[in-house]
Symmetry: C2
Subunit: 198 residues, 2 copies
């Protein structure tokens, strides 16, 4: 592994700090000063490594996404068959490390800004495109051609919907219910079979 430069390290530390604050305080509450403090650095350094606040938040978006992506990769590697592949991708989105109210809410906060931030939109598009291209081959193998597109949309929409609700932290949806619901959906979309294991 290439030795990390100071810049890489600092950017990473700051991004992680910002991610934490974002989860706790939302976008408005994610202030340069707070991020710096959390990272144990001065405020000035933040703008030394990031062009501006948006640049920092973009890094947060990429980080959050990278974490989830790694989880997907890890699970897909262990998955067997097309059905298993789909289930692995989905299950990653509900892994205990990611399916947490604060994290869902952090995503919600970022998503809410997408229409007013070109780069956010770009990143979001990339994320969705990858999710899609992960899903499609397996779906094509599992479903008649005419149903593939709809299944991809449906699966992602269901994930998003459960994330959104969970991100509200109203306690009106438990992890178990979300899991069960997702199972149920996959079962009908792909044909009944064993569920997604947490």
């Amino acid at each position: 592994m290439a030795r990390a430069s100071i810049e890489e390290i600092r950017r990473r530390e700051l991004t992680e700090a910002a991610y934490e604050i974002l989860q706790e305080q939302g976008i408005a509450g994610t202030t340069l000063a707070k991020v710096a403090e959390r990272a144990g650095m001065s405020k000035g350094i933040v703008l030394h490594y990031f062009r501006d606040k948006d640049d920092l938040l973009e890094a947060v978006m990429r980080l959050a996404n990278a974490l989830l992506r790694d989880e997907v990769v890890r699970r897909v590697r262990r998955a067997k068959g097309d059905r298993g592949r789909v289930e692995a991708i989905v299950a990653a989105n509900f892994a205990p490390a990611f399916f947490k109210p604060e994290i869902c809410n952090a995503w919600l906060s970022l998503c809410a800004e997408v229409p007013r931030n070109r780069e956010f939109a770009r990143i979001q598009r990339v994320i969705h495109a990858r999710m899609r291209s992960n899903l499609m081959p397996a779906l094509r193998a599992l479903l008649p051609a005419g149903e593939v597109e709809a299944a991809a949309i449906g699966i992602t929409a269901m994930i998003d919907g459960l994330w959104l609700r969970f991100g509200l932290s109203l306690g009106s949806l438990t992890r178990e219910q979300a899991l069960a619901e997702m199972d149920r959906y996959l079962a009908q979309a792909l044909g009944a079979a064993d569920g997604v294991q947490a």
Copy 2:
């Protein structure tokens, strides 16, 4: 109809103005000054009729919800049978007047703040509770007892998911796709039948 007091009128005007700005500029961009200007009033008046900014945003939340609720009521009134009732409720959420990127995004913005605002959370809870109580009787009539709960969660999650995606304004989801997906979901959840008409 009771004659509206000045206070009622002003509050309504200001709330509508705030709702507009929220759709265009998000929560951070929804500033007291901009709201006042949009409503053609002075900034001072805003805080004469609302305790503070949060109070105004709560009113926006209630307004947005009331508009949607009315649409639901209107459609449910015309609906026939339990199945028709469910479809009417769902269809209201995709009516052209409501299923618009700006509106979906406005909701997203408000939802993102729920964990950090008690009153937002309260309102959100009420909204969900009503959605649920609207849905449940019909679902109970249509499904075996064991599936009712899951169906209610699933329907709302799917709606939320499609709203979220649409609110991103990335053009990756058309109204037609959303409609079709919702149809598809209802068909499998309730048993195949005619779809939701726009």
